[in-house]
Subunit: 379 residues, 2 copies
């Protein structure tokens, strides 16, 4: 039969109603109809980002908005701190490098929690640092970063902005931009937005916009100032990805209807069910001390290759999760419960992992993990 | 009833079968299924670009690939020639400026033909020029540029590449990349590709790839070398716009089935019918000497505001075309016949223009334009 199940940390499943909306005939973007829709989208994005500021929209993957966060706020030779505890921390460092920004790397062991004290120390040692780049959830490890605490520290430095890659986080786990004094929050459509990949987002605080005014790094497509000017007219600087924006116009009201508080509670419950199930199977979490509710990274049992778990799940059970990357390759597998996901998706994933582990020679009492998940989910 | 008709120069109509394909459940991009599809897409793109080289795919609007064409081949301070005869020529100049490339502007009066001799002169005067940037069809004026002739001149200079923005051109009008010795061809999904906006493309000759090896301008998201490396593995450097790539996998075989020769002939016929109809109505073409078959720019009759023509077509007749931009604003209107467009779309557009002009006080014998179009189309 080949029915497919998707539980990877992006792309994530898209509701049929959203797919349908995107399949409507294309409308022209320079038209009152489109502008009205974009006006509503702007409000929906502010709700999702928990900000009063505008949220810029780009036709690109999340990396595009990350690049823009660097090139629109900094100048060549500027200093920055990059918290690097996984693949996406490395991405911040690589973008800085590409543009001649002097990034001081704060290395964090993969899977381990972040100590905000390190950022306090680093900023105290060198207050001329212009920006702190971090993730909210590091997708590659499943670690949740203490954003509120780090932002509190950064906010004491008027010459430093706090830049958060919330691609695998926003809309799944709490991240109130204005309340936590975050200066830039970057997101992507293919995660908790319940959309296909192809749109990225960036919201900036007043402090960040002041940096934009002084930045001299070159930029063109990801020019935040130009994009803001157009957005204020319900337009975009360049032709927008109309069908994806239509999908956004469908998914944002769904998010508003469920309500952020309920959405975060749902993700917390699904994540807890996943974690409890894995522990019941005798497995270990890759981030036991600081796990995110967006994606759960699980250590493959001794003698079992994590990549094989992913491959068998995909090839034999038509269920897609993700493996480990780089140093975590083969060691872990990652189950996402982000976006358009509810309780039976988790049960299905746990059942599939159980069956796969058994096929790989890791014997457990059948249904033990599923039972543990059900116990959490029926509370 | 409000049935909508779209005849703007991007976005253009998308076949229902392509919309449907894009509405299928999202698949993961790191999977054999996706990689197989991307492998087929690569071949389809080579056919469309008429090249043996790989065609890079980006999640962005066409401007993103244009920026990449500059940042991947040049270094700060490099000299370039920009042929500027409209809005998109200006865009090349603005990108060069943003990145510190010294662009010598060859200004061309809007709507007027380009004299390739000017490029020969400019290169003779300064052979240190690294790149010539041009359009194939300038969307804002409907002018067709003599790409073959210009490329022939540029190809005599080993230190100069020929970079063509073919966004409103490729797949509608002949542009054999390899045969004409074009070094970079840039395209966008929302034109003759029969897709929504959100993908851009760039193909590079061997000569252009040699420039890439020496370029020092900063880039990250639009890094051509990194993208090529991933593409060779049927992958992309960053999360691709999966649903749009699925649409591409549906539209490219349609293009191949119709055949480029037939496609160009269809566009030529539709364009001629549009032109003859406008002339029959006593109107003038904005580019009477060098018109493109992708989009027809028409001068609004004396006393009639071109913007009003567009507005009434849209608000009263639910038919979208485009107006003039900047210096051509109010003076012209533009009818596109590009991509998923056939003969009755043109007849419909001509009928709507006739009705609108009458409403604006420009009296013509009813059906005169339609008759002229029909005469061309029934040949």
């Amino acid at each position: 039969m080949g029915k497919q199940y998707l539980l990877a940390p992006g792309p994530t499943p898209v509701p049929p109603e959203v797919l349908q909306r995107m399949a409507e005939p294309i409308i022209h973007h320079r038209s009152p109809g489109y502008e009205k829709i974009l006006g509503e989208v702007r409000e929906g994005l502010k709700y999702l980002f928990q900000t009063k500021k505008e949220v810029l929209i780009f036709a690109s993957s999340g990396t595009g908005a990350m690049e823009g966060a660097v090139t629109n706020t900094l100048s060549a030779g500027d200093k920055a701190i990059v918290i690097e505890g996984g693949k996406f921390g490395e991405r911040w460092a690589n973008i800085c490098k590409a543009y001649g920004v002097q990034a001081q790397i704060l290395p964090v062991e993969w899977g381990q929690p972040i100590d905000p004290g390190l950022i306090a120390q680093a900023l105290k040692a060198d207050p001329s640092v212009k920006a702190v780049f971090t993730q909210a959830t590091e997708t590659s490890t499943g670690v949740l970063y203490p954003i509120k605490e780090i932002a509190e520290i950064v906010s004491r430095y008027p010459g430093t902005i706090m830049v958060v890659d919330a691609v695998s986080h926003l809309g799944a786990v709490e991240l109130p931009m204005d309340e936590w004094k975050l200066d830039i929050v970057v997101a992507g459509s293919q995660k908790a937005f319940m959309l296909p990949p192809g749109l990225s987002f960036a919201a900036l605080s007043d402090k960040a916009w002041e940096f934009v005014a002084k930045s001299t790094l070159p930029k063109f497509y990801f020019d935040f100032k130009k994009e803001l000017k157009n957005l204020m007219q319900n337009q975009s600087a360049y032709t927008p990805a109309v069908s994806l924006v239509m999908g956004l116009a469908e998914s944002l009201p769904r998010i508003r209807k469920e309500g952020l508080e309920n959405i975060f509670a749902r993700h917390a419950r699904l994540a807890r069910a996943t974690r409890e199930a894995m522990l019941a199977l005798g497995l270990k979490l890759y981030a036991p001390q600081a796990y995110s509710d967006a994606v759960t990274a699980v250590v493959a049992p001794p003698g079992v290759d994590g990549q094989k778990v992913v491959k068998i799940l995909r090839d034999r059970h038509n269920l897609t999760i993700a493996g480990g990357q780089d140093q975590a390759k083969g060691k872990i597998f990652r189950i996402a419960h982000m976006g358009y996901v509810d309780k039976f998706d988790v049960i299905m994933a746990v059942a599939a992992v159980e069956m796969t582990l058994k096929e790989l020679g890791y014997a457990v009492e059948t249904g033990k993990g599923v039972r543990a998940a059900m116990e959490v989910l029926s509370k």
